[in-house]
Structures are given as structure tokens and as C-alpha cells.
């Protein structure tokens, strides 16, 4: 019997093993991978981009129990039927001009200051709002942030097509004033299987990453758990942390003949104050990449040509670019495991290069510390978005003003124009998505468009427009429009006027005198898609960071947050306000009542009766008493006036006496 049972058990176990093996073979398993991308920036700073990806297969094939994937996120997806969600915490501003605005990293990781949350739900239309509200509360608890303030209908909006097309299932909200700090990072790190105990996340030394010039922590979630059709890939959670750091300038180096100074050299330990010890063993891959931008590469090649021998020069370009790592422009302390080169699909000339370092072979005893040393001063610039966007307020005072969004052409679009010049008519489409809180009452009919400093009618310049005026205390105003600009445009500007509204006293936030925020506008360059295509595809697609870089993404820019000063009541003096209001009301109502209930004839009669019983009760009593005593019949006294004046004199004497006493007491005791 026991034998049979054991055989049965064995068979059962065998089958279980078989099925799990089969599943592993298909690739249907949880996965986690980490990567860090470092990129020197033109203004002596360094961009560090951490990327962690966790993925889990769909529930119906894999089940509900996970080894790696964070349970809280899984439950979020299950509960709110999320199709896609992105949450970002950002401190500082992305400098589009210096750090680039066109490459995949900047267009997907440059976020507005504060918190931005958007989510696409897979629920019937009427449940979307409820799901959003619950989601904000759940996230608020998860990330120790006041995301729950996005719950109110004045705080979020439903972009139709400009932000991304979703047919009403997308909700979008921002909290520009949210302060971002370690309390938001710690729960974010808890979602990683190794937390920050091992792997690349050990680099996240709090003081150094919060000292940076830009800090954006992002969580992006895609799931098609509830998709009836299409690919079934389960839930994919991308967590990225993008920071811009200033390397410590050690001994401001020698000034070179050209007059420019050397870029500061940096290493992982100097940037973060830490080194990478052991890799996270749960991670499929943990790599560090050093990216050299297109323009930097072309500068390096030029440098190679200049310094190299003349005969070796131009026709050995490939050669040079293959070998230049250790010899001319800069030096890496560790030879890269692999060099990944961008493939030139459009023949634009320069190409970016990635150096890959694997941290798998390092341990706590022999930590990984990459050093990047510049040898020659180089000047380059980042790839710019076709138009640089800035938004500002116009006007002053507490009454009205206007918002201006100005778009300035960068050199990038000139190149594009040259490329597209074959087409007879070339247009540049720019989608603008702007949410305005209800207390800033925007008059959308005052929308003015100026292209190249010339006024254009809205019908001419705007291709598509969707405006949802704000409703007081219910919903914010939403403006979505597609500008149609000629390719050779140098500048464009958009102005809308607004009135400043009044809030109810308990609607003012703390520190109301600072002013109120208008969240960033999102500007999407619909005609442009950015990606970096690499040569050998099959390997690179397994690395999530690289596949992200290869995915085509839209070029997006966020504008500045604006601060609108509104009229605020004087909160510091409620007592004064209450007192003066009460006094005014008392005076008003007192005199009004007086005037209403007074009758002239009545008053005369009243006076007359008063004159008859002028003397008070006490004196009349006394008079009666004395009359009785004297045995005479009592009659009302006639010399009332004299007695009154006598009384008055007495009263005055008394008052004077008391005052004198008080003065004397005050003088001698004090």
C-alpha cells in the first residue's frame, strides 16, 4: 500500500516538475532585471538612469502566487483593472536645452515637478471615476504621498487625444507642489526583489541622489490581464530613477589651448559615494551602460581625425571609432564587455554608442567602480526637441492675466526641414495639452496664435481643438489642441487670457499667500518618434533597458509650472476681522431696527410719561415714606429736574473720587 502511495506521489511530483519545466521553456516565468545607464551631459553633469523591470505572466496561465513580482502592485492591477499606469515623483526641472529633449530617455523620463499620475482603466466607462478615486487612495498609502488629493474631480482630467489616445479610459492628474523625498523612495525600493541591499540599487545613497539637479522616480505599469484579445504578456512593471548629478570638481584642470576647460571626470564612487558590490542574484541581467551621445561621438571622431595622422584620417572612420575608447577623448577604467552601436537607419551621420559593463563578476570584496576620465576638453550639445517650449504668465495684479506658451525653433527642426524639403508643403504638428484649475477662469475665445511674430487666425493655425471649460468647484478646464506650423517656423506663441477667481475661505490651501499652481502643459510633437536602433537584435531584445531604447516613443516636453497669485484674505488676523465685521453688523442692524420701530408720536408720549414719573422708584418710595412720617398725603414731587441735577453732581463726584483713588493706587503701588 505504501509502495503504491509512494509511486503515486512520485508520479504526481514528476508531473508537477514537468509542467514547471515546460513553463520555464516557454519563457513564461517571472523575471527581473536591472540596468544603469550613465551619460555625460554637455554642461559638466552626468545623467544616471536606473531601470528595473519586473514582469509576471498572466494570471490564468501562471496563477496568483509570485516569487519576485511585488504583491501590492499585482493587487492594484487586479483590483482596479489597470491597463496602464504611470506614476512619477520629480524634484527639480529637466533642462531641455542642455540635457536634450529628443532622445528616448529624456522624452519618457523628463517629468513635471511634483507628482504626475495617469492611468488607463479596463472597466466600463461609468466606473472609471470610482476606480481612479480608489486608485489614488491606494497609491497614496503605498508611496507615502498625498496622491489622494487627486481624488477630487477638480484635480484630474480626461485627455481625449493629445496626451495619448485612450477613448475616455485615461485619467490624468498632477500635484505640482508635492515635495519628493526619501519617504517616497523607500516604498518604491520595496517593490524591488533585492530592495537596495544588493545590485545596482545599492548605489542609491540618499544624500547623493537627492543632491542632484534633477531627480525623477517613475513607476510604469502595463498589463493586459483583462484584454480579451491580442498578446498576453502579463504585467510588466518598469521602475526608473533618473537623476542628474554634478561630479565633484577635483582640481579645476589645466586650461587647454582652446580656452575651454576639461569636463570633470567622474566615477561611480565619486557620483554616488558608493560602489556596486554584489549583483542582485534574482536579476536576469545587471548591466551598467555608458552612453555617448551622437553629437559627442561625432566630436570624438572629429577629434580622432584631427589628432590622428593625416593619411589615417577620414577613410578609416570606422576603425577610429572602434578603437577610440582608451586613447583620445576619454578613458574608462574598466574595459567594456561589449560595445553596442546605433544603426544608422536614416543616414543622419552621427550615431550614439553604448558601452556595456556587466557587474556579474564583481563581489563585495572586489566592488565594481567605473571611472570615466576626460583627457581632452570637448564641447557638444544634446539633441534638441524640434521646438523648445516655455510657458509664462503675462500681466500683473490680482484681477486678470494671461498664459503664454511660446515655441522656439531649435536647429533640430531645420535639419528636419532639410530632410523633408522634397515635399511641397511641410507641416509640423504640435499637440498641446493644458489643464487649468477652476479658480483660474480661462477665456478660451481669447486664444491667439502668433506664428513668426505674425498674428494668425485660430482656424488657420489650429488643426484640431478640444476645449472643456472649467466648472466652478467641479472640474478643471482642459484645453487640447493641435497646432499646425509650417516646417520653417522660427517661433510660435499662444496666448489665452484668464480672470482670477475667488475661493471660499476653507478652500485655501496652507500657505495660500504663495499663490496657486497651474500644472505643466504637455507638448507632444506628434510627427516625431524617437528611438535608438541597435545592430544585433536578438540579444539586445532580452535586455529591457535596451529594448525600451529601441521602442519608438513620442517626443514629449513638459513646460514649467506657473504660479498665479490670487487674492487671499488676511488669515493672520481672524480676530480683527471678526471684531470689525461684528461691529459693522451691530451698527448697521442696530440703526436699522431703531429706524424701523421708532414712531415719532409715540416718542413724544413716552417722554411725557417719563416726565411724570421722572424720579426713580427709590426716591418716590422715600417721598412716600416721608409723607407718611409727616402725616401728609403724598403727591408726586415737582422739583424733579433739580434733584436730577443734584444726582448728577453726586455721580460726577463719585466718579472723580474713584478715579483719583485709582490713580493714587497706581502711582504708589507701581
Amino acid at each position: 500500500m505504501t509502495g503504491v502511495r509512494s509511486i503515486f506521489l512520485f508520479v504526481l511530483l514528476f508531473f508537477a516538475y514537468e509542467t514547471s519545466l515546460a513553463r520555464a521553456e516557454v519563457g513564461e516565468n517571472e523575471g527581473f532585471s536591472e540596468a544603469l545607464l550613465l551619460r555625460p551631459l554637455p554642461d559638466r553633469k552626468v545623467l544616471a538612469h536606473f531601470h528595473f523591470q519586473s514582469a509576471v505572466p498572466p494570471t490564468n496561465s501562471y496563477g496568483r502566487h509570485h516569487h519576485l513580482f511585488p504583491k501590492s502592485i499585482y493587487q492594484l492591477v487586479q483590483k482596479f483593472h489597470l491597463r496602464e499606469m504611470e506614476l512619477s515623483f520629480t524634484q527639480g526641472r529637466w533642462n531641455y536645452e542642455r540635457w536634450g529633449g529628443y532622445d528616448p530617455i529624456s522624452s519618457s523620463n523628463a517629468k513635471p515637478p511634483g507628482v504626475e499620475l495617469w492611468a488607463v482603466f479596463d472597466v466600463p466607462q461609468h466606473q472609471v471615476d470610482a476606480s481612479w478615486k480608489n486608485l489614488t487612495h491606494a497609491l497614496s498609502g503605498l508611496f507615502c504621498a498625498s496622491i489622494n488629493f487627486l481624488e477630487h474631480s477638480t484635480a484630474y482630467s480626461t485627455p481625449e487625444w493629445s496626451f495619448r489616445s485612450s477613448g475616455g479610459y485615461l485619467k490624468y492628474g498632477t500635484l505640482p507642489r508635492e515635495a519628493v523625498c526619501t519617504e517616497n523612495l523607500t516604498p518604491w525600493l520595496k517593490l524591488l526583489p533585492c530592495r537596495d541591499k544588493a545590485g545596482l540599487s545599492t548605489l542609491m545613497d540618499r544624500p547623493s541622489i537627492y543632491r542632484g539637479y534633477y531627480h525623477s522616480q517613475r513607476l510604469h505599469l502595463t498589463s493586459n490581464e483583462f484584454d480579451s484579445n491580442g498578446l498576453i504578456s502579463g504585467i510588466v512593471l518598469d521602475q526608473t530613477l533618473t537623476i542628474v548629478l554634478q561630479p565633484n570638481i577635483k582640481g579645476t584642470g589645466a586650461i587647454f589651448s582652446s580656452g575651454s576647460t576639461l569636463q570633470p571626470s567622474w566615477s561611480l564612487s565619486s557620483l554616488f559615494g558608493r560602489k556596486v558590490g554584489e549583483r542582485c542574484v534574482l536579476s536576469k541581467s545587471s548591466n551598467v551602460y555608458v552612453q555617448l551621445e551622437q553629437n559627442l561621438v561625432s566630436q570624438l571622431i572629429k577629434l580622432g581625425n584631427d589628432t590622428g595622422n593625416g593619411d589615417k584620417g577620414s577613410h578609416h572612420e570606422v576603425d577610429i571609432s572602434q578603437n577610440f575608447v582608451g586613447d583620445r577623448g576619454f578613458e574608462l577604467s574598466i574595459p567594456p564587455d561589449r560595445q553596442i552601436r546605433e544603426v544608422d537607419r536614416f543616414d543622419t551621420g552621427s550615431l550614439s554608442i553604448l558601452h556595456q559593463f556587466s557587474v556579474e563578476n564583481y563581489s563585495d570584496l572586489k566592488p565594481f567602480d567605473l571611472e570615466f576620465r576626460w583627457k581632452l576638453p570637448l564641447v557638444w550639445s544634446c539633441q534638441q526637441a524640434p521646438l523648445s517650449v516655455s510657458r509664462y504668465l503675462m500681466g500683473s495684479g490680482n484681477e486678470r492675466g494671461s498664459i503664454a506658451i511660446s515655441l522656439m525653433s531649435t536647429r533640430m527642426s531645420e535639419c528636419m526641414q532639410n530632410a523633408d524639403s522634397s515635399a511641397s508643403e511641410c507641416w509640423l504638428r504640435v499637440d498641446i495639452f493644458q489643464v487649468v484649475p477652476w479658480y483660474v477662469k480661462v477665456y478660451y475665445h481669447t486664444l491667439k496664435v502668433f506664428i513668426d511674430e505674425r498674428f494668425q487666425t485660430v482656424a488657420n493655425a489650429v488643426e484640431r481643438m478640444h476645449v472643456l471649460p472649467s466648472e466652478d468647484k467641479v472640474s478643471p478646464g482642459v484645453m487640447e489642441l493641435t497646432l499646425k506650423l509650417p516646417c520653417g517656423v522660427r517661433s510660435a506663441a499662444l496666448t489665452v487670457e484668464f480672470d482670477k477667481g475667488f475661493l471660499h475661505i476653507d478652500e485655501y490651501p496652507p500657505d495660500a499667500n504663495q499663490g496657486f499652481d497651474i500644472p505643466s502643459a504637455v507638448v507632444v510633437f506628434g510627427d516625431f518618434e524617437t528611438s535608438i536602433q541597435f545592430a544585433d537584435d536578438d540579444y539586445l531584445h532580452n535586455i529591457p533597458l535596451l529594448s525600451k531604447l529601441q521602442d519608438k516613443s513620442r517626443v514629449v516636453s513638459y513646460t514649467e509650472v506657473l504660479l498665479v497669485p490670487l487674492t487671499t484674505p488676511d488669515f493672520s488676523m481672524p480676530y480683527n476681522v471678526i471684531t470689525i465685521t461684528c461691529t459693522v453688523f451691530a451698527l448697521y442692524f442696530g440703526s436699522l431696527l431703531n429706524a424701523l420701530r421708532r414712531r415719532v408720536g409715540e416718542e413724544g408720549r413716552l417722554l411725557k410719561t417719563k416726565a411724570t414719573k421722572e424720579t426713580g422708584k427709590l426716591s418716590s418710595l422715600l417721598a412716600r415714606l416721608s409723607a407718611k412720617l409727616r402725616g401728609k398725603p403724598w403727591e408726586p414731587s415737582e422739583q424733579s429736574s433739580s434733584s436730577a441735577s443734584f444726582f448728577n453732581r453726586k455721580l460726577i463726584l463719585k466718579v472723580l473720587l474713584v478715579a483719583g483713588l485709582a490713580v493714587a493706587w497706581q502711582y504708589y503701588s507701581g
Binding site: G92, P176, S396, A404, N513, L562, L563
Partner: protein, 709 residues
């Protein structure tokens, strides 16, 4: 008779009080006016010490970070500017280029802002309107433009919603040593702020070109910042204007050029602005000194906290001597010293009675305080900003001008770095303090008068003087009116019997006649306000001739009024009715003056205060000259009237005041005209006050004086 006695009801106490005051209006007005003037003189005694009201400011809580490296760098920068000054011809381009190079090397963003000199033109009632969006001058030539250089530091952790502005004006035509030093201070602070991590607000450094006046450059930049003009016509480099030489080439040589350097850069809402100037003359003290100028247009002041932190840091942190403007001649006036002595002895007496009563101040303190107070009052009343900071106040930005002056001593070279260090650290401290501020300045006072850098009189105190001065006006008007109507009714009764109802009715409307006169004179005042607009374009006329034209026009228009509407002024034929008539006229005049003064006190309090000092005695005293026989009393009265009315004429008042303060030998009558022109060029409400309140009241007083009765 019998029924009358008990029915005679007592009126309400408030009405009784009013009647009582009206019946004693002479005494009341004398008491009130004296009390008002006394309260004004007492203000320096009543001044309180300033204190920092907003806790978030925390001035001086951090140790200054400006190092000697920054200062030596700035010193080198100053040297470069001065050497450019001596060598280069095209200073207007070289200095901006130098500043731009330095800012770019520091990692700041930079752009130029070109502006044309804008002629101040007469725009009546401008002070009610918000600043004009991009007024374009059609006929100014291409070459007369100024070039501001704007450097911006983006706060590394900040969200860029707010900004602090540092302004260093310099004359691109000829840079003086002081201006170079102020640029040096700006540069040292800027270079420090590019490195610090505590910035929460962006920093804008505006090196403004002051060749068309310090105010013009700043105002032009602010206008472009707040009300940019997109239409294209506002751009200076249109096709018609030729590019200035060498302008395009230095766009390319910058290090981190990214192609959009010429766009106008914005950086959020301005939280505060500091204008840094260095005086070329040395300070008269043994220490470096700092003068604070705060008055903006129409008596607007920056928040007192801003003055406070500058004063606090300068005195406690950097051992500077802080001063605010004062009227120098007050320091030597005997009567102020006498008053000061009186107040001091009173204070001593009070202290001997009770040691806790300590309101006495020393004589010197009193005299100094009143000289400062008078200057503060005058500058506010004038309504003309005392420096480039005035441009910021028009956009509700708190701003002050800090003018450093060096102590003159040997060892100049060494002193320069020390001076730069001191100035730079002070500016750094103020910037740091404002940077701490989460909300905008709102905690402290906006309406105040300074009696010294660390003492102030708040609105609650200084309005007492004005209220006392103005209080007798309605009372006197009412009592005059009631007296006149009583007299009139008695007249009517005596002539047409006791029961003539229509006559009584007619009598109650008699004041309308006087009101019409007043209204016509007011219209005339409005006309006089607009008059200079029509003839101020006459070329090549000296202020003197313009003033004469103005006076002649004034007299002619008055005569025309007299001739055309002469019947108004000489209505009625019997003496009794004329007697009532002048009383009506005076009462309505006083009512008009009261309304005008009260209105003005809302717009510009200091103007109303000074105006009341002139207007109230004049209005109250006027009595027709031919009223009674020539006794001593009446002749005294007439003399008083004549003197007051003479002084009430604005040019005379101006000349007498100026002469009393600065000595009569340096005075020319034409100065009044330049003063008036300054008023309307700066859109001061004082001009409107003078022409629409003061002048009509003066004319009406003369009418009363000359009234035939």
C-alpha cells in the same frame, strides 16, 4: 406757548453731539487743527522699532558662504570692466559681451534684452491703469537702444515658480568706478549662487543699461517680462534697422551656445528685487555706509520686512552704517531742536512719574527722526520713485535700492576686495532670506513712514494726524450751512410773513447755486489738468516760459469764466442774501475740499497729509474782505487770509518751501515747472491732486475773499 414746552423732545444723543460740535465749530476746528499738527510733530516720538514679522525669513541664521575666491574673481571682473572703459570705444556692446561670457562660464543662462529709450509722455490718469502692453515708439531711431544683460540661475531643486531679481544698473556710455563695483558685487553673488544647493527660487541678474536713466532700462525689461508683445512690431531688429556692428558675431563665440540664446528668458513670478548701486562719492562716516531707498510710484512702499532684513543684516552682520534719506536742512532748524528739547523734558518728566512710561527720545534722535520722516513723507507725496526699484512696484513686486558708499581711505586696492566681500555677503544674506520665504511678502506693513532705518510709523498712527486735520471740515461746512439757512429763513420770514411755505421751500435749495459755482470751478480744474498736454510739445521753451504760459492761461481762463458766468458770482442784490451766499459758497467749498482730501488719502496718503496742511487752514479761514468795518481783528483776519491764500497758490507754496529748506538764493521760479513736468512724466497722482483738488479750492477761496458783501 403752553403746548410747546412738553412736546419739545430731546433729539438723539448723537445728533445732540453733532449739534454741539457744530455750534462750537470755531473752537473745535482750532483744537483739531492744532492737535493734528501736534500729532504730526509727535510722530517721531511715537515711532516703533522695526521687527521682522515673517518668521520664515530668518535673516542671518546661516553663515555667509561668499568666499574670498568669489571676491577675487569679482575683483578681476571689475578690473576688466574698468579697463574696457578706458580702452574700448563701443562700450555698449563690449560690457554685455563680457558679462555674458562670465555668466556662461559660470553655467548660467543668459540673454540680451534690447530696448529703446522711451520718452516719458503725458498720459493723464495713467496711475489707474495697469502698465501698457508694449507701447511702441514709431519714430525713434535705430541706434538709440540700450542693451540689458540678463543672467538666470535655475534653482537645482526648485520648481522654478518664483524668482529673485538682482539689478545692477550701469551706464554703458561711461562706466564709473561705482557702477563697476556694483557689477562686481552682482557678479560675486551670482557666481556663488550658481554653486549653492539651497536655492529654492531662481535668480535673475539684470545688468541694466542706464544710459537712458536707471529706471528706463529696468522698466523696459519688466515690461517685456510681464507684457511681451508678440505682434512683431515691438522687435527692435526688424528689417528697417540695421544690425549693430559686431553684434551678430559674438553670438557664435560663446561656449555652450545652443542656438536659442537670443530669446527672452523667463523665470517665474518675482518674489523680490534688489537694486544694487555703489555711490561714487565716499561716505562721510568712518564705516562703509548703505542707503536704502524704498519709495515707489504714488507713495507705494515695499513690504517693511524687506527693509527690515536689509537693515538687520547690514547692521548686525556686516557692520555697515545704514541710513535712509533725510532732509538735511531740518537737521539745523532751531525750532525742531526746541521741540525736541520740549519732548525730551516731557519724556523725562513722565519717566520720573512712572519709570515704565518711556516715550521720551533724545533731542538729536528727535531731530534726525523728523528729518527722515519729512523726507519719507515728501518722497511718498511726490509719487515719483526714488530709484529703479520703483519699476518693480508697478508689477506688485517688492523691491528696494541698496546704495553702498565706500569709506574713503588709503590702501584703496585692499579696500576694494573687502568692500566687495561686504556688499556681496549682504546681498547673499538678503537673497538667502528671501529664498527661505515660502509665501510672498505679506506679513508686515505696506503703509508706513520711516523715521530711521530701524524705526517706523505705521498707518494706524500717522493717519491720526490727517484725521484730526480733516475732521473740522465737515463740521464747519455744516455749521456754516445751518447758520446761513437760519439767517436766510429769518430774512424770508421778516419780509414775507411767517406762513410762507413756498419761500421756505425755495430757501432750502439755495445752496445749489453755490454748488453750481463749485462744480464749474472743478470742471475748470479738470481742464487745467489736461491743458499742458496740448502745449507741452512747443519746442525750445524753457521751464520758465512754460510756467508763465501756464499762469497766463490760468488767469485768462479764470477771467473768461468770470466774464461769461459773471452772473453766478454776483447773484442777488440785497446784502443779506449775499451774506448768506458767501456762507453757502464757503460751506460747499469746504465740503469739496473734504471730499477731495479723503479721496486722495486713499490713493496717496502722504499727498493728502501735506495737502491738508496747506488746504485746511486756507479753507477754514477765508472770509470776505468787505465783511465788517476795519477793526484790528478783522484786519488781522484779512492779513492772515491773504497770506494763506498767497501761500496756497501751488508755485508760491513750492518756492517758499524750497526756499525755506535750501535757502532762497538757489531758487528759480522755473523749477516749479520742471517739478510739475516730473510729476506727470512719472504719472504721479499728486499732479492730478494739485490740479483737480488744490487749485479749484484755491480759486474758490479767492472767490470767497473777493465776495462783494
Amino acid at each position: 406757548m403752553e403746548e410747546k414746552e412738553p412736546v419739545k423732545s430731546k433729539p438723539r444723543p448723537i445728533i445732540r453731539l453733532g449739534l454741539f460740535l457744530m455750534s462750537h465749530s470755531l473752537l473745535v476746528s482750532v483744537v483739531c487743527c492744532t492737535a493734528g499738527i501736534l500729532a504730526l510733530l509727535l510722530l517721531p516720538v511715537l515711532a516703533k522699532n522695526t521687527y521682522i514679522s515673517e518668521n520664515a525669513l530668518m535673516p542671518g541664521s546661516a553663515s555667509p558662504m561668499l568666499s574670498s575666491d568669489d571676491v577675487s574673481e569679482a575683483s578681476r571682473f571689475v578690473g576688466k570692466i574698468l579697463s574696457l572703459n578706458s580702452s574700448s570705444a563701443s562700450l555698449g556692446i563690449e560690457i554685455p559681451r563680457l558679462i555674458k561670457q562670465h555668466i556662461t562660464a559660470l553655467g548660467g543662462e543668459v540673454n540680451y534684452h534690447e530696448f529703446r529709450s522711451q520718452l516719458n509722455t503725458f498720459r493723464p490718469l495713467q496711475f489707474f491703469a495697469s502698465p501698457d502692453p508694449g507701447i511702441i515708439q514709431e519714430n525713434s531711431s535705430c541706434m538709440s537702444y540700450g542693451l540689458n544683460t540678463v543672467g538666470i540661475i535655475r534653482a537645482p531643486h526648485g520648481d522654478g515658480k518664483e524668482a529673485i531679481v538682482i539689478v545692477t544698473p550701469y551706464n554703458s556710455g561711461k562706466v564709473t568706478a561705482g557702477e563697476a563695483l556694483s557689477l562686481g558685487i552682482g557678479y560675486s553673488v551670482f557666481s556663488l549662487l550658481t554653486r549653492v544647493t539651497w536655492l529654492a527660487k531662481d535668480i535673475i541678474w539684470l545688468a541694466s543699461d542706464s544710459q537712458y536713466g536707471e529706471y528706463a532700462g529696468v522698466a523696459a525689461w519688466l515690461r517685456e517680462y510681464h507684457t511681451p508683445f508678440f505682434g512683431g512690431l515691438g522687435k527692435l531688429h526688424s528689417e528697417i534697422c540695421c544690425e549693430p556692428s559686431g553684434f551678430s558675431e559674438f553670438e557664435t563665440d560663446a561656449i555652450l551656445e545652443t542656438g536659442i540664446s537670443d530669446t527672452f528668458r523667463h523665470a517665474g513670478t518675482m518674489a523680490a528685487a534688489l537694486v544694487i548701486k555703489v555711490a561714487d562719492s565716499s561716505s562721510e562716516f568712518e564705516k562703509d555706509a548703505l542707503s536704502i531707498y524704498a519709495e515707489a510710484s504714488n507713495g507705494q512702499m515695499p513690504n517693511l520686512d524687506l527693509v527690515n532684513i536689509v537693515n538687520y543684516l547690514a547692521v548686525h552682520g556686516h557692520n555697515l552704517r545704514v541710513k535712509v534719506e533725510k532732509i538735511q536742512s531740518f537737521l539745523h532748524s532751531w525750532w525742531l531742536w526746541g521741540l525736541g528739547g520740549l519732548f525730551e523734558s516731557l519724556g523725562k518728566l513722565a519717566r520720573s512719574l512712572n519709570p515704565q512710561w518711556s516715550f521720551g527720545i533724545s533731542i538729536a534722535e528727535y531731530v534726525e527722526g523728523s528729518a527722515t520722516l519729512a523726507s519719507s513723507l515728501y518722497n511718498q507725496a511726490l509719487g515719483v520713485p526714488t530709484g529703479p526699484h520703483g519699476a518693480f512696484r508697478d508689477y506688485q513686486v517688492d523691491a528696494i535700492t541698496m546704495e553702498f558708499s565706500r569709506q574713503l581711505s588709503p590702501g584703496y586696492r585692499n579696500r576694494q576686495t573687502e568692500f566687495l566681500m561686504r556688499g556681496g555677503r549682504l546681498v547673499e544674506g538678503v537673497v538667502r532670506s528671501v529664498n527661505n520665504l515660502l509665501e510672498k511678502f505679506h506679513q508686515s506693513f505696506f503703509l508706513y513712514l520711516l523715521t530711521s532705518p530701524n524705526r517706523f510709523v505705521s498707518v494706524g498712527v500717522y493717519m491720526i494726524a490727517f484725521a484730526l486735520l480733516v475732521a473740522p471740515l465737515p463740521m464747519v461746512a455744516a455749521s456754516l450751512f445751518s447758520d446761513a439757512s437760519k439767517l436766510g429763513s429769518m430774512n424770508e420770514q421778516s419780509t414775507s410773513g411767517p406762513f410762507s411755505k413756498p419761500a421756505l421751500k425755495f430757501r432750502s435749495w439755495k445752496w445749489l447755486h453755490a454748488a453750481r459755482t463749485v462744480l464749474i470751478v472743478q470742471f475748470w480744474g479738470a481742464f487745467m489738468t489736461l491743458l499742458p498736454y496740448f502745449y507741452c510739445h512747443i519746442p525750445n521753451s524753457s521751464p520758465m516760459t512754460r510756467l508763465l504760459i501756464w499762469i497766463v492761461l490760468l488767469i485768462i481762463s479764470l477771467l473768461l469764466l468770470w466774464l461769461n458766468l459773471g452772473s453766478i458770482f454776483s447773484h442777488g442784490n440785497n446784502t443779506q442774501s449775499q451774506r448768506t451766499q458767501w456762507a453757502y459758497l464757503k460751506s460747499v467749498t469746504i465740503a469739496a475740499a473734504f471730499t477731495g482730501l479723503c479721496l486722495m488719502s486713499v490713493i496717496n496718503f502722504a499727498t493728502a497729509e501735506i495737502g491738508a496742511l496747506l488746504l485746511v487752514p486756507m479753507c477754514l479761514m477765508t472770509v470776505p474782505m468787505k465783511l465788517k468795518g476795519w477793526t484790528l481783528r478783522t484786519s488781522m483776519q484779512v492779513a492772515c487770509n491773504l497770506v494763506l491764500t498767497f501761500l496756497g497758490f501751488p508755485p508760491v507754496a513750492f518756492v517758499v518751501l524750497k526756499g525755506a529748506l535750501k535757502g532762497f538764493d538757489s531758487i528759480s521760479i522755473g523749477e516749479f515747472w520742471t517739478w510739475m513736468e516730473a510729476l506727470w512724466e512719472w504719472n504721479s497722482a499728486t499732479y492730478v491732486y494739485i490740479c483737480m483738488v488744490h487749485l479749484p479750492c484755491w480759486v474758490l477761496c479767492i472767490l470767497t475773499l473777493l465776495h462783494p458783501c
